[in-house]
């Protein structure tokens, strides 16, 4: 049955469908990224810098 469904589909629409999927997801994620407060972004971006593993002098 699935085979019949897909046989009747116009496969040339697949790139268009894919493009629509992507645009919807892209807009939603971009919206989230741009709406987020600057301070939150700064805090998140700084996470790797919170810890530090000091380099000790040779032979210490």
């Amino acid at each position: 049955m699935l085979s019949d469904v897909f046989r009747d589909l116009d496969l040339s629409v697949f790139p268009t469908v894919g493009m629509i999927f992507f645009i919807v997801a892209f807009v939603a994620i971009s919206w989230r990224a741009l709406r987020c407060p600057r301070s939150d972004m700064h805090d998140a971006a700084s996470l790797p810098l919170h810890d530090s593993d000091p380099i000790r002098p040779k032979g210490d």
């Binding site: 496969l11 999927f21 994620i29 971006a45 790797p48 810098l49 810890d51 380099i55």
Partner: protein, 773 residues
Amino acid sequence: MSIDAAAGGTTHQARSESAESTGGSGTTQGPLEQFTYDDGIVRMFAFATVLWALVAFLVGLLIALQLAFPQLNLGLEYTSFGRLRPLHTNAAIFAFAGNAIFAAVYYSTQRLCKARMFSDTLSRLHFWGWQFIIVCAALTLPLGFTQAKEYAELEWPIDILIAIVWVGFFGVNFFGTLVRRRERHMYVALWFYIATIVTVAMLHVFNSLVIPMGLFKSYPIYAGVQDALIQWWYGHNAVAFFLTTPFLGLMYYFLPKAAERPVFSYRLSIIHFWSLVFIYIWAGPHHLHYTALASWASTLGMLFSVMLWMPSWGGMINGLLTLRGAWHKVTQDPVLKFFVVGVTFYGMSTFEGPMLSVKLVNSLSHYTDWTIAHVHAGALGWNGFMAFGMIYWLLPRLFQTQLWSKKLAEWHFWIGTIGILLYILSMYAAGITQGLMWRAFDAQGNLAFPDFVETVTKLFPFYLIRATGGGLFLLGGLLCMLNFVMTWANRPKTYEQEVHSAPPLRPVAVAADADAQTPHSRLHANTKFGHEGDKFLQGTWHRRLEGKPIKFMIWVLIAVAIGGLVEAVPMFLVRSNVPTIASVQPYTPLELAGRDIYIAEGCYNCHSQMIRPIFAEVKRYGDYSKPGEFVYDHPFQWGSRRIGPDLAREGMSNPNALWHYNHFRNPRDVNEDSVMPAYPWLLSDEIDWSKIEQRVQTMAMLGVPYGDMVEPGVAEEDARLQATAIAAEIANAGGPPIDEIREKKVIALIAYIKRLGVDLTKTPPEGATAHAE
């Protein structure tokens, strides 16, 4: 003494005590928990990275030299190009890059989560399990045990082991750490690690579905076109989710650390991540342009490949601009030098990739060394330099001493850079030269270079330059190993275990800022839809998602599954995608045995079996390939490189059995310029007749219509008859006597070669049908 051993070092378990805290973990007050990080596992993976790098580079150098000097396999079957090339790629991808990924993940995840890894035991099982897999690969591939699918050559027992180690040890350990983390927000590097773990597991499982025939042999459940689609869905995304996303995670953590400043734009990193994971998975079919794959699928792959340029460059720009205001440090710090060049190569490769996916460009580049240049720009420049940059940054921290020689690291950088440039520039020149020679016509409309070997000998100088570049890159790796070992030797007698503290992560519902994280509609309208829409638009849904690893993983899985499903489902369900041809019949039992020898020797590494509908190819090789020709091919053997000519019509263009016999004995006897290795062992090793019947029965299980051939004794009798006929043909043409050769492997291989492409000219057997909608 092991790299992990810290003489007298102790491991502290995390413990809690009551205290007031205002830690930066998203909670305001709570009991402080103290914990240590497991750096022993990072040391182990870091050492394995450099060790396997040397192996991968050395094997790569050897096979590069073999293309110029084929005798360098020393006459041994275990060191021939076809068997060592998969070893080189597997060592580079899964051993070198793989261990680098694990070192990066184990180091950064603990610190970003403010938590020790979920289980030290799982960490060790992961390490030793992965090294065992690599050793298995290093043993089985030279022995000729292969599934013949690029970057997925390992046989089914090793595939199962990979799934266990990847999901059971690594995945559980990683997600267990995320669940037990003490930092509310999951930093973007962790997102890339999540995408890596989930997607690689999915790709590996679906591409490895096989029917075993013994411990070291199996056949994929897919055939021909469908096998090709799944393989390159896997192959392309192995590059995406093994060589790109984890290294982007590495970049997002280690580059800010080395530059001592936060990533340029966290907003851009969010867009970068989701765009990349959503788009990348669709791009696989661009590896199959102009092949028998349905055109709509490869066009879809091309479209998404071009779109991929945007997020890729978003990531590159984000990486390079992280160094804003810190460029002066690059001149002083070899780590930053490695990172800058690495990210630059990422940008170059991800510009070139979409360009190569455009059909017109691909028609020139495909099957040539241009592709080899492209992948090595990525592998040596991006993966190699990011990994080495990370290693140099980690060494003093892991071994709690100064780097033994910063000067040596600088030398490594410059030698490696020159090596990469020599390598890729020579391969660009070789690829474009060969592509243009293949399609060149003279004034009379004939091929300007009808003898394929002319297009190979022309590349000889480029191969020597490439080998020089590879040799320099190997030398750089040796310097890194020297620096590694000497830094390790200078370690303190006892590693100092720094005790960290942070409050535990409490559920959002009881956290002080829970209310702030719950969106409230700002609308006065009465419609529920309006309120929900406004809450969505406030974007807090994603912020919450960033703190929930399992939900995040599910969304990533959905994002990557869409592309695969849209491409694969129609290909499997719509019959018009693979129209069958009535005259194409299953291989005979002897031809099947010969096909397995073709696979074991890795012939697909140099020969394609896919004639594209391009005038120059049809002129050179014959009628273009049709999807229906491959319906019994488990696995498909289309290849991706033409170091030798295409063989799709070899049975029609060169059916001379004696020529093939002499050619396998020593290719230089029939063509003095050939770079193909000699295969003397095929002339002495005997066919394993006991497996003839089992092979046919396995194929029948996969749906190949063998009819009575599966009955006991029938297949072997048929195979012996055909072997005798071919041996007689060789003997009658002046070759060795029948009795001397009819049991030899070379006869089965010749039977297979003579079959290639001949079905199209045959009259369909009575009752055979075809369909093409």
